[in-house]
């Protein structure tokens, strides 16, 4: 009984302090709001000024095929494939580098220098239902990278548009 009272006391104190802190914190968030509101399909090609603005306001942007295609054609930055090494070997966007999201400890160090030099990053995974490109973008943003574009349609969308693809396991090419 005493343990239950103590648990309730801890929870009550935590909830009160947590909610008050959240109200006054500059990083406080709405407690009933869905955090997944970032959704900019078909983002415009950014120029240098826009790039700075993106870093501050929309560091992660969801983009459609046209914008992804433009990013690749204009070589605006590093393209990252968040899928498995096997999927990558079977086919990927030309010039893309493999950064398998669930084994970042192995793949990230190989790409770190290139990512730091890159003015922007495009991530993609298998298809529109896949979330790994989004997770990878969040992880890279936490590591200090921006702007990051997430090609939501993924490799399936790329293939559906009859776009060229590369095969093989040269994981850090591009």
């Amino acid at each position: 009984m005493q343990t239950i009272k103590q648990i309730i006391s801890i929870l009550v104190v935590s909830f009160i302090v947590g909610l008050i802190f959240n109200v006054f914190s500059p990083r406080g968030i709405g407690v009933v709001k869905n955090p997944w509101s970032t959704n900019t399909i078909g983002a415009p090609a950014y120029q240098s000024e826009q790039s700075v603005q993106w870093k501050q306001e929309e560091p992660i942007l969801f983009v459609d095929f046209d914008r992804a295609c433009q990013f690749v054609d204009d070589k605006e930055g590093v393209v990252l494939d968040a899928r498995t090494p096997e999927d990558f070997a079977e086919g990927h966007i030309p010039g893309a580098c493999l950064l398998f999201f669930y084994n970042m400890n192995e793949y990230y160090p190989k790409l770190e220098d290139r990512l730091q030099e890159s003015p922007a990053i495009l991530t993609y995974c298998s298809d529109i239902d896949c979330e790994d490109s989004e997770f990878l973008a969040n992880e890279l943003f936490n590591l200090g990278y921006a702007p990051i574009l997430v090609y939501k349609g993924g490799f399936e969308d790329w293939e559906n548009h009859q776009m060229p693809e590369e095969k093989g396991r040269k994981e850090t090419q591009g």
């Binding site: 103590q6 801890i10 935590s14 947590g18 990083r27 084994n103 969040n138 936490n142």
Partner: protein
């Protein structure tokens, strides 16, 4: 013999300090970036979107209050029970997510690493699950030591 050794006051104090340090450090990271923590919780697909932010705001404070309870000795049994219970849930959630990733990608369990939302960034998952189970055990050791004191009294 082992039980007596585990419940020795010095060992229990050591456990309390270690757990307090881990909880306070990890919770400060989450309190500082609540939106990011909400994103990481979402990756588990275990909670509805409507309560993600609420959990992201409150859970780190439960951890930090427990951490201070371990340091001060206040509400120790409650904190130890919460520590064991929460870490059991965390271990299950991480194992579940690991299983989902293995199922969909075919990656080997012993090659798996991701940010589990534990406050330490990208971590090696087999070790992380083991760490959570160790924290469950430490909570039980602290709880047993308090029961022993209560039984004596």
């Amino acid at each position: 013999m082992i039980k007596r050794l585990l419940l020795h006051p010095v060992i229990v104090w050591g456990c309390r300090l270690i757990v307090a340090g881990v909880l306070i450090y990890a919770s400060v990271q989450k309190i500082w970036m609540p939106l990011e923590f909400a994103r990481l919780i979402k990756e588990y697909h275990l909670l509805p979107d409507q309560i993600l932010n609420l959990v992201a705001v409150l859970l780190p404070w439960v951890e930090i209050v427990c951490g201070f309870c371990f340091l001060s000795g206040l509400w120790l049994m409650g904190a130890a029970t919460l520590l064991s219970g929460l870490n059991m849930v965390f271990a299950f959630a991480i194992a579940y997510r690991a299983w989902m990733i293995i199922y969909t990608t075919g990656v080997d369990f012993f090659d798996l690493s991701f940010d589990c939302g534990c406050g330490f960034g990208v971590v090696y998952i087999p070790t992380k699950i083991l760490e959570n189970l160790i924290l469950v055990s430490i909570g039980l050791i602290i709880l047993s030591s308090r029961w022993k004191i209560h039984a004596k009294n």
